[in-house]
């Protein structure tokens, strides 16, 4: 994602100031981990769902930080440089509408059901709702397989960013790599990705090991403030260097007017992109964050402020992206994800700001990684071990110990996987989101439709897997094998692939549910959140 941030090699040692800034930021995170870890009460409920005690501000910040990845800063800028200012409407404002819709219509109900039934994971909910262990065992590998690439992208992205900013810092320690075609030396003296991955995983593990999801929520809040602030600082400094807001945009109108409009975005693509943000309804890590809320009322601030926060982060990044096009700034290797660091390097030449921006990018990455690590550890503990061996045979302390053990194992395994990343790993992001979004009909039906059946849900999951796999093969595997240049969003008939997968999943869910016996009313009653009439 973030490869080729800088030129191939340097002759003399570069300043290590950016690294010192990043190091200071990581130390702050460790300190925060120590403080939040002291609040840990020692119970499993506290470790896995923060004792269901999180207030409105922390819920907003942790949910926003978890939802926004490094893409919000780096990807959005690069995408705007590629496609123009329409990227905001394509990806951001649609998320502003739909994320809050999901928080309000699904999140509050799942919070209530989770609290009433004592759930800690999404799979516990589906198992109970459909009275089926099979659905749990079916969903578990699917959810894990959809989360793992997401984790790898974060770790590899962090590695690429750090390698980019540290070229020439340690010429005697790190020899760098050689260009696969020309054989020229590259990234001489730069921190290798394996080391950054190790440090990032170590820091995240430190604070989630001590305090579980409560520490993740605290760290997310801090990191969200950091990456929002970083984006705004970069925006104002960059606009100043380009002669002010009006001058920067005037250059776009003169030199690259297509970036002001949307000739590179299809109308069907724009319409069908609305399905993608529904993925938040099926993110297992977000489900776990919802369960941490102390009261349903705490969702109010999240629903209202989330679209505003998206605007605060995305509008400046989109403008930086189109301004770069107007100023004829091109990222190394034409890699859009390398644009933001390139703009900072070209216009600002400030090692402190480079360090701050890198810390902001790492904050966005780590605020998603931590929740995903805790979530996977919780899923292995609750959905596999407790399911197979029985929860009652473990004391509360043993449950926490088991959770911690699994989190360490998940972090270690993910780190090892990041050392041998599969090809095209960064192309998997849109497919992961498509998979989660296409499971949305099941969670929606589970909380609103009394008539949905176990068979309908299982058939829908299988239909999703088959359709997803077919489109994935057609969109990614086949062109890769044929060495054909891949198209950005793998459009099918001009639409995002998620449109087709979602439609198949929803139709199968409804059709199979209607032809199979309805579940007992008394059972369904336990999951239908009722409200007091006004």
């Amino acid at each position: 994602m973030l490869a080729l941030l800088t030129g191939p090699a340097v002759a003399e040692a570069a300043t290590r100031t950016p690294l010192i800034v990043v190091g200071g930021y990581l130390l702050l995170l460790i300190g925060l981990g120590v403080v939040s870890g002291r609040l840990f009460r020692g119970t499993s409920s506290d470790y896995f769902v923060a004792g269901r005690s999180i207030g409105p501000f922390l819920l907003l910040m942790s949910v926003f930080g978890t939802t926004m990845t490094a893409f919000a800063l780096v990807g959005s800028t690069g995408k705007a440089w590629e496609l123009g200012s329409g990227v905001y409407g394509l990806m951001a404002s649609s998320s502003g509408i739909l994320h809050s819709l999901v928080f309000f219509t699904i999140g509050i109900k799942l919070w209530a059901i989770g609290k009433r039934h004592g759930f800690h994971t999404q799979i516990e909910f589906f198992r109970a709702r459909f009275d089926s262990n099979a659905i749990g065992y079916l969903l578990f590998p699917i959810l894990v397989l959809l989360v793992v690439p997401y984790l790898l992208i974060g770790i590899l992205g962090a590695g690429a960013v750090m390698r980019g900013i540290s070229v020439g810092m340690f010429p005697e320690a790190f020899a760098g790599t050689t260009h696969p075609v020309s054989g020229a030396a590259m990234f001489v003296g730069a921190i290798p990705p394996w080391l950054t991955g190790l440090v990032v995983c170590g820091v995240v593990l430190f604070y989630i090991f001590t305090g579980g999801l409560r520490s993740a929520a605290w760290a997310n809040a801090f990191q969200t403030i950091v990456f929002m602030g970083t984006g705004l600082i970069a925006f104002f400094l960059i606009s100043g260097k380009l002669g002010g807001l009006s001058e920067a945009t005037r250059a776009v109108i003169e030199n690259s007017p297509e970036h002001m409009a949307r000739p590179r975005i299809g109308k069907l693509q724009f319409l069908s992109y609305m399905f993608v943000p529904l993925s938040v309804g099926m993110f297992p890590h977000l489900f776990q964050h919802w369960l941490t809320a102390k009261k349903a009322e705490n969702f109010k601030l999240t629903a209202i402020a989330h679209p505003l926060f998206i605007a605060i982060v995305w509008v400046p990044c989109i403008l930086i992206g189109i301004w770069a096009a107007g100023a004829d700034i091109t990222p190394p290797g034409n890699n859009p994800n390398a644009l933001l660091p390139k703009v900072v390097d070209t216009l600002l030449h400030d090692p402190y700001l480079t360090g701050l921006l890198t810390a902001g990018i790492l904050a966005a990455i780590m605020s998603s990684l931590d929740s995903q690590f805790v979530c996977l550890g919780t899923m292995f503990t609750h959905d596999i071990v407790f399911q197979l061996m029985g929860k009652k045979r473990f004391s509360d302390k043993q449950q926490v110990l088991l959770g911690r053990g699994f989190i360490v194992a998940v972090v270690a395994l993910t780190y090892l996987l990041s050392l041998f990343p599969p090809p095209k790993i960064f192309d998997l992001a849109v497919w992961c989101f498509s998979g989660f979004a296409s499971l949305f009909p099941i969670v929606f039906a589970a909380v609103y439709w009394r008539r949905v059946t176990k068979a309908g849900a299982i058939a829908s999951i299988l239909a999703m897997v088959v359709t997803w796999s077919w489109l994935f093969y057609r969109g990614l595997i086949l062109p890769t094998l044929d060495k054909v240049e891949l198209e950005g969003d793998y459009l099918v008939l001009g639409m995002m692939p998620v449109t087709i997968i979602f439609a198949v999943s929803a139709v199968v869910l409804v059709a199979v549910s209607l032809v199979t016996s309805p579940p007992p009313a008394a059972h369904v009653d336990r999951f239908m959140v009722t409200r007091t009439p006004r």
């Binding site: 209530a112 000739p263 609305m274 349903a296």
Partner: protein, 81 residues
């Protein structure tokens, strides 16, 4: 559903529809001297979305959800045991 709730949800639907601003597809004009019109419009959609959720929460908040969640269930009783 109360009139206020119908209004609030109608506003949400309206925003979702207005999000598809096909009439601004080829616009290269600016507002405030620097913001592309299409981007300004979509940023306005984000602000409107925020207002929409204020309205939904005001007029269609699920009263009683806390009480429903607090009802005892077997699994819940194991919580913190």
């Amino acid at each position: 559903m109360t009139t206020g709730a119908k209004f609030a949800w109608g506003f949400v639907v309206l925003i979702a529809i207005l999000h598809f601003d096909f009439w601004l597809w080829d616009s290269t004009s600016v507002v405030f001297g620097f913001l592309p019109t299409g981007l300004a419009y979509q940023a306005g959609i984000s602000l409107a979305a925020s207002v929409a959720w204020v309205l939904v929460i005001r007029f269609d908040w699920p009263d009683g959800v806390e009480e429903w969640a607090a009802q005892d269930e077997v699994a819940a009783s194991e919580e913190g045991a």
